[in-house]
């Protein structure tokens, strides 16, 4: 049956999963990361938030931001990039 309106770009086509559940469910964060540029700050933030190591999710993303802030500060140690 053709249905031109509700085309799904889901990786779990509806017909294939009716009445069944995927053996291993993907978390929302795993799904989200797939839509983010690999290695990007957004992907790092989501990964840290989803699996905070020794911290709360909020602390985990704050740590990612702090790390990036330090990287950005270190750029100014490189004299080639400096306004002189």
């Amino acid at each position: 049956m053709q249905n031109l309106i509700a085309e799904s770009d889901s990786d779990n086509p509806a017909d294939a999963t009716i009445g069944r559940n995927p053996a291993v469910a993907q978390t929302n964060f795993e799904r989200l990361i797939q839509h983010l540029p690999e290695g990007s700050l957004s992907a790092k933030l989501v990964a840290a938030y989803a699996a905070p190591a020794n911290a709360t999710p909020d602390d985990a993303v704050a740590k990612v931001a702090a790390t990036r802030l330090n990287e950005l500060k270190r750029i100014h140690d490189d004299t080639e990039n400096q306004l002189d």
């Binding site: 929302n28 957004s42 909020d58």
Partner: protein, 839 residues
């Protein structure tokens, strides 16, 4: 992972259910409950709901005012001493049976929710504990897996935004929204600090007209330390040049020149440097060890007489001379010169006396150290007190001559500043008093301790000295408080004075430039921090955009998945209709709005449909089917193990009833969902029995004949006649599975026949208490010998029962399935025995 299943449910005193608790046992994946109107069918559906949620949603969705549901849960005729409860045994996802009981504590009242107590396996429990059994409630208000007429239309009658919230929670994307909030908060927290001291200095300096073109590039980039120094020097040079000031050769000299020029210009307006002061240094009282040391010295001094103390130094000095210390024969006295007067014996005596005073000497040394520490402390206090502003340290005459006068300050400032001036003056007076007190005490203390250091023997009362230090500490505390008040008052005033003075002397921003020039490392660190934060903020904004887009895609994915599920169930209910459910999805450009879309096609092939909102174009029947399709799709999405459907198809929808009974229920059972269908339509109920005999469908009837007893439930499948009828239907099937089921059913029927025979026999003998339940747990092999003597109408009858027992009894455990002729003979024999003995 398995999903939870209900094994049985017992209800007492809940709504239509009265004092006689009623139990429904579910041995199959499908159960059908029939009850005419007003016999307790909805009460049964709501009993499931109450068990799982402690509420009934009808109160929220239907009642115009919630007051109408006051006292609605407890059966009105239930005796006061009896409680209202719903109890069930559920097989959880752990594969084990768990007893869940919810007892009503207080009913709904005006503006008050009902209260109930949940227990799992006899222990007090919470909703969260239900989740551990795999019973995951859905999004309120339709939290329980119970669909009734009043809940079917909820999503169509609610607003699009409420729908959006509902679906976002059903699709479990609120965690993504929380994540988004966390990143957004992070982005906001990364904003550069505009109140940072270095940045405000630079901003003020950049406001200098001649320096602006030179300094403004610092807003965009961070130069090297060398480059920064050059930029600042260039700015200073530009200012000096504009002021026609001679330019010294070195940058440091140019900075000094600018500072000098600033003071010179300011002084012409007001000697603002009169406010200059050092920060108040920390000062702490001497430690306890110092006082202990002085006390020890006094104690040791008591043990040594004054003469010995006087001579001890001489003794030690004499013994420090090597000739004396090592003398083995009389030598001349090193002090008075008497020839041969220092004999070895006398030297030994001197050594002995010196050793006797060794402890005293050590105490004396320690006391001297302590006194030195004390005097250092006293002088530190005096120095700390020097933190007073310059104008306070000056003589009045000198201050006035410099132009630092209150009248001048008042004249410089706007009249509105008079309050700030008065507050400042009050703080000055307090500071002056505290300052003078502290200095006086500090100087007196230092002088007294100096005296003690000169003559330690004059030290006889360290406690007095200690008390004076306590006074000094109090004075310092007063000074610190006064200084704090002064700094606060001065801050409010000095900012205004500086602005006025700098404006009048055309030196606005000079001081800030000088300060920045003197602390270039801090300025550069601030610029690096700022630049990095600006960059990070930009990156976080970009990350947020990516996350927003990603969240939308995840939501779209999940909507599409759910939408596909609804479509499938819709198509099972209403196949090949040109008007059909198309999708449920967030509205474009308005993500917080969710629409249900219908496709309108000319033909059943649904090609090139027009899209409209379902609420506008669907009939009541179509909306009804959509509500059912959505409920089922949601149940599967959320891995609900069982669902309760209370008349899911409108009585007017004959066509779709058949689709529901066939396609939908088959699909649900195939998906492992336990389905309990409640219906007022007897035809539907019977159709379900016939269609799902092979599933051993559980069949129940409900009726309310006695209001006090409440609704009663009968398992019609247990009725002997019904069992024989069902056995006959199953035996007709050629499939081995059906014959096996028929064999089991006829064996159960034979057991039932035996039990009824035994009960009947006892009744005829006058035992009115005889009941079928007296024989619970007994199988056909045990019952048949007891019944045979009662089969006296014909000599062949006991043999018929024996044959049934021998041929059907093992059917449950044997691989061999009874053939059709065996089943037919057994069925015929059972029917004739029933007709003969239990007419």
């Amino acid at each position: 992972m398995t999903t939870p299943k209900i094994n049985w449910i017992e209800i007492q005193g809940f709504r239509a259910f009265g004092r006689r608790g009623q139990t429904l046992s579910f041995g199959s994946a499908l159960a059908a409950v029939w009850a005419p109107n007003s016999q307790g069918k909805t009460s049964l559906a709501e009993a499931f709901e109450f068990l799982l949620t402690g509420q009934i949603v009808r109160r929220q969705l239907v009642a115009s005012t919630r007051d109408e549901f006051a006292d609605s849960l407890r059966n009105a005729h239930l005796p006061a001493e009896m409680c209202t409860f719903v109890e069930a045994v559920i097989t959880g996802t752990d594969g084990k049976s768990h007893r869940i009981r919810r007892t009503l504590i207080s009913d709904y009242a005006k503006r008050k929710d009902c209260q109930s107590a949940l227990q799992i396996d006899g222990r007090d429990a919470t909703q969260t504990d239900l989740a551990t059994l795999g019973i995951l409630l859905s999004q309120p208000p339709l939290a329980a897996p119970v669909l009734a007429q009043h809940t079917l239309g909820y999503l169509f009658s609610t607003g699009p935004q409420e729908r959006a919230t509902y679906f976002r929670r059903i699709l479990e994307v609120t965690d993504l929204e929380v994540l988004r909030g966390a990143v957004a908060a992070l982005e906001a927290s990364c904003k550069p600090d505009d109140s940072d001291l270095q940045w405000t200095r630079l901003s003020s300096a950049t406001a200098i007209e001649t320096a602006e073109p030179i300094l403004s590039p610092l807003n965009a980039g961070v130069p090297t330390p060398k480059g920064l120094a050059a930029v600042i020097d260039e700015a200073i040079t530009a200012i000096l040049t504009a002021a026609d000031h001679p330019l010294p050769m070195a940058p440091v000299q140019r900075l000094a020149a600018l500072e000098e020029l600033l003071q010179e210009r300011r002084a012409k307006t007001f000697p603002i440097n009169g406010f200059e002061r050092k920060p108040l240094a920390d000062w702490n009282e001497p430690t306890k060890e110092e006082w202990d040391s002085l006390d020890s010295f006094l104690a040791e001094r008591e043990t040594v007489d004054e003469e010995t103390r006087r001579l001890t130094a001489l003794f030690r000095e004499a013994l420090a001379i090597p000739e004396v210390d090592a003398a083995t024969r009389p030598i001349d006295c090193v002090l008075c010169g008497v020839e041969g007067s220092l004999t070895p014996e006398r030297i030994a005596h001197i050594r002995s006396r010196a050793q006797e005073t060794e402890s005293f000497q050590a105490a004396r040394t320690a006391a001297m150290d302590s006194l030195r520490n004390l005097v250092t402390s006293a002088r530190a206090l005096d120095a700390a007190a020097a933190a007073a502003p310059n104008f306070l340290s000056m003589y009045s005459k000198e201050r006035r001559k410099a132009g630092f006068r209150i009248e001048r300050i008042r004249a410089l400032l706007d009249p509105s500043a008079s309050v700030a001036i008065d507050i400042w003056l009050a703080s000055v007076r307090s500071l002056a008093r505290a300052w003078a007190t502290t200095k006086t005490i500090a100087k007196a203390l230092a002088a007294e301790i100096d005296d003690k250091l000169e003559d330690l023997d004059a030290l006889d009362d360290p406690q007095t000295l200690n008390s004076k230090f306590s006074e000094a500490a109090d004075a310092f505390g007063g000074l610190a408080d006064a200084m704090k008040q002064y700094v606060k008052a001065e801050g409010a005033l000095l900012e205004q004075i500086t602005a006025v003075v700098d404006a009048a002397s055309e030196t606005v921003g000079w001081q800030e430039l000088i300060d920045a020039a003197r602390d270039q490392d801090a300025l550069r660190a601030s610029l690096v921090e700022r630049k990095a934060r600006v960059s990070l903020q930009g990156e976080l904004k970009a990350a947020l955009r990516q996350i927003d887009r990603g969240n939308e895609l995840v939501l779209d994915d999940k909507f599409a998945h759910l939408s596909g599920g609804i479509q499938r169930w819709w198509d099972l209910l209403r196949p090949d209709e040109p008007t059909f459910f198309s999708a449920v999805r967030p509205r474009k450009q308005a993500r917080r709005t969710v629409d249900f879309k219908a496709g309108l096609s000319l033909d059943a092939d649904r090609i090139a449909p027009k899209v409209r909102d379902v609420v506008a174009v669907f009939s009541q029947s179509q909306l009804h089917c959509l509500g059912l399709a959505l409920f089922i799709a949601r149940a599967l999405h959320e891995r609900t193990g069982f669902i309760v459907l209370d008349d899911p198809i409108l009585s007017s929808d004959e066509d779709y009833r058949a689709n529901f009974q066939a396609a939908v229920l088959e699909e649900l059972i195939g998906a492992g969902v336990q389905v309990i269908v409640l219906t007022q339509d007897r035809k539907t109920w019977k159709n379900l029995e016939h269609r799902y005999l092979h599933e051993s469908i559980d069949m129940f009837q409900m009726e309310l004949t006695n209001r006090a007893d409440g609704t009663s439930v009968t398992n019609s499948g247990d009725d002997l006649t019904a069992m024989l009828t069902r056995g006959e239907l199953l035996a007709r099937g050629g499939h081995p599975n059906l014959r096996k089921q028929a064999g089991e059913l006829l064996r159960d029927a034979a057991e039932r026949f035996c039990k009824e025979m035994l009960v009947h026999d006892r009744w005829t003998k006058g035992d009115s208490r005889a009941a079928l339940s007296d024989h619970d747990g007994k199988n056909l092999g045990q019952l048949q010998p007891k019944v045979e003597p009662l089969l006296i109408a014909d000599p062949s009858h006991p043999g018929k029962l024996r044959v049934i027992a021998s041929q059907l009894n093992p059917a449950n455990h044997d691989d061999e399935t009874p053939d059709q002729s065996t089943l037919k003979v057994a069925l015929g024999d059972l029917k004739s025995l029933k007709k003969q003995y239990l007419p």
